[in-house]
């Protein structure tokens, strides 16, 4: 039997055991949506890291570095620095003033129904887009990692069913522990891989960086070339490359603090001070991981080589192939199992944030005016919507198929989070004049600007060669109107302008009167939600 498959099954068995354990502790809304707010600071920090570092980080960035060297490492930086926005601006006010979702903070002084409806729409957009990108990647990846023993469709269905089971039965508590275990496995695997890379170079940085300065491979024309992989500019080329990079940076710096699946994590701890400490824990793990992409990515470039990776599954297989080259098939299986755990932990986090928003924001507060018609309705609706969201994600991933061009969905999720969610959260906490009209405008403009710009970007508009077929083809066969793949540089200012103009067009005295209450609550923690007993 395939060793990778055995390791996958061990991970599945452990996580299902945790789900069973958590299911007995998930009665009631606070327990189900926020793990009774009893998660410890370090645990939440590790879980944030597990929620955040997707297969795109683990396999994707290693792959980009393996093919483009330094420019790939540039990606790594933004993913950590973004947490400073979370730490300095968002985490504590959110924990102090909210209950289960980001919309709770907005609803404090604005009219709850329109604001929650828009916030819920934006949350569902971010979460489902991100989830579809993960699912399509997961299907293709699991198939490769298991050496073709399962088909793409089987892999998508398997991942989908597992994430539904974690969320429906184990709620936030099971999701949290799946994320914690994944983060620990990911860190262990990355440290091991880094040590093995350095052992390969006899623990000499001189030898390692010397090898990096002369990576030899065949370029697109089939010509043998030798490049210094530490040199910038192999991927981001003028005229638009640097601008695209800045635009991506903006989406990361402002978007991470607006990602619903990250924000909900801060409701799982007892208070704002613990939320703060959990961000610091997360930053230690996330930063260490991204620094180590140096070893993963450049290790794959120098030890395995871009040519070999291209011939054996491509970009995403760089880290597993590196493991195989350094320590054989058992280590390959271990790294593969980590990739699998990574996918599951992220999609489970996305599912619970989507269902929390649908049930708490939309069902209870928009449709039923903030009243649960019978006890337990909110949790029941969340469980049902987890089936629906999960089922939809499985179906869409299968329709799109393994070759679908979905990388843009991740850029889109961050762009929406940065252009729609973040402006309204920040303005509602810091601007007295802000009102409902501003929030609705800000969310709508941020959402539409992000989607609109992506549709006219090279992600959708490009003239493909005749050999590209099916869903891998770009939808619009024409030259892109907007030259950047990341819309942030334009959509974030548009989101802010939308929110400001919307505010100025309307006057809402009650929102200004209640500003003091939100200001005091978010800055002191007066009346913040407390932890509950199981």
């Amino acid at each position: 039997m395939n060793i990778s498959l055995v390791m996958f099954l061990v991970f599945i068995a452990i996580t299902l055991g945790i789900t069973y354990w958590a299911s007995g502790r998930s009665a009631g809304a606070s327990a189900y949506f926020a793990a009774s707010r009893q998660i410890k600071g370090w645990q939440n920090g590790v879980a944030v890291a597990g929620d955040y570092m997707s297969a795109a980080s683990f396999l994707g960035i290693a792959g980009i570095i393996a093919f483009f060297g330094y420019d790939g490492f540039l990606y790594s930086v933004g993913w950590l620095v973004a947490y400073l926005t979370v730490l300095l601006v968002i985490a504590e006010p959110l924990r102090n003033a909210g209950k289960y979702t980001m919309a709770d903070v907005l609803a404090y002084r604005l009219k709850p129904r329109p604001v929650r409806a828009m916030a819920s729409l934006s949350t569902l957009t971010v979460s489902t887009f991100y989830m579809i990108a993960q699912m399509v990647g997961a299907g293709a990846l699991v198939k490769l990692l298991l050496g073709g023993k399962v088909t793409y469709n089987e892999a998508v269905i398997g991942v989908g069913i597992l994430m539904i089971v974690y969320v429906v039965f184990g709620g936030m508590l099971a999701t949290t522990w799946v994320q914690i275990i994944k983060a620990i496995l990911l860190m262990a695997g990355t440290v091991l891989l880094s040590i093995l890379v350095m052992a390969h170079f006899h623990f000499s940085f001189g030898q390692f960086f010397n090898a990096i300065s002369q990576v030899s491979y065949h370029d697109a024309k089939g010509q043998q070339v030798v490049k210094d992989f530490l040199q910038p500019g192999l991927r981001f080329k003028p005229p638009y490359g640097p601008l695209d990079l800045i635009s991506l940076g903006l989406a990361l710096i402002f978007g991470t603090a607006g990602l619903p699946h990250i924000l909900v994590r801060f409701y799982t701890v007892p208070d704002a001070k613990t939320a703060r400490h959990s961000v610091v824990w997360a930053m230690v793990l996330i930063g260490s991981f991204y620094i180590m992409t140096t070893f993963l990515g450049f290790g794959a470039a120098t030890i395995v080589g871009p040519d070999f990776i291209k011939a054996h599954g491509g970009n995403n297989m760089s880290a597993p192939l590196l493991a195989n080259a350094l320590a054989g098939s058992i280590f390959f299986a271990f790294i593969s199992a980590i990739a699998f755990a990574t996918i599951l932990a992220v999609v489970a986090g996305l599912t619970i944030s989507a269902t929390t928003s649908f049930s708490h924001d939309f069902w209870t507060n928009v449709v039923h005016n903030g009243v649960e018609r019978r006890p337990g309705e909110e949790v029941l609706v969340a469980r049902i919507s987890a089936f629906v969201v999960g089922g939809a994600a499985i179906a869409i991933a299968i329709v799109l198929g393994p070759t679908a061009n979905v990388a843009f969905l991740v850029a889109l999720a961050f762009a929406v989070a940065a252009s729609a969610n973040l402006p309204v959260i920040v303005l509602s906490i810091f601007w007295r004049r802000f009102n409902t009209s501003g929030a609705v405008w800000g969310l709508a403009v941020g959402l539409l600007a992000s989607i609109g710009l992506i549709v006219v970007s090279p992600s959708f508009m490009m003239i493909d060669a005749a050999t590209v077929t099916g869903t891998a083809r770009h939808l619009i066969q024409a030259k892109a109107w907007f030259p950047l793949e990341n819309p942030g540089i334009l959509s974030i200012p548009l989101g802010f302008i939308g929110a400001i103009i919307g505010t100025l067009l309307s006057s809402e005295p009650s929102s200004q009167e209640k500003f003091n209450e939100l200001l005091v609550r978010s800055n002191t923690g007066l009346g913040a939600e407390k932890a509950t007993a199981h």
Binding site: V77, L80, V81, G206, L230, L245, I291, N523
Partner: protein
């Protein structure tokens, strides 16, 4: 079970409630203004610094790649600057946690006064 049932209520009935005048009074108090000023004094410069420091990376690497390729020891300026971002982020986070102990102390005074002053629960 009692606590579970209570949790099921969605309306924020068990939250700390106070009339508008109390919130205004706290917001206007010297203690609260001190807290906000202390927070602002750290957060605003820290935020501006890290944003400028971070975006200097893509700007320099994107528009001055030759200069950034300058060799420094085994590596180059571009790699060192990227690596420094991680340590700068960690240092700012550490300084924030230290400064935040001060915010907590100021907030605690306000909390105690508010909760003793008006029966909230």
């Amino acid at each position: 079970m009692a606590s579970t049932l209570k949790e099921l209520a969605v309306v924020p009935s068990k939250q700390y409630q106070a009339p508008q005048a109390i919130w205004d009074k706290i917001a206007d108090s010297k203690e609260f203004k001190d807290l906000m000023a202390t927070k602002r004094m750290f957060i605003v410069p820290a935020f501006i610094f890290f944003v400028v420091y971070y975006f200097a990376l893509p700007v320099l690497v994107g528009y001055a790649p030759q200069f950034m390729s300058t060799k420094v020891g085994f590596v180059n300026l571009a790699y060192l600057f990227a690596l420094s971002q991680f340590f700068v982020a960690w240092i700012i986070a550490g300084l924030f946690v230290k400064a935040a102990n001060n915010f907590d102390r100021l907030a605690k005074d306000i909390l105690e006064k508010a909760e003793n002053g008006k029966g909230g629960k």
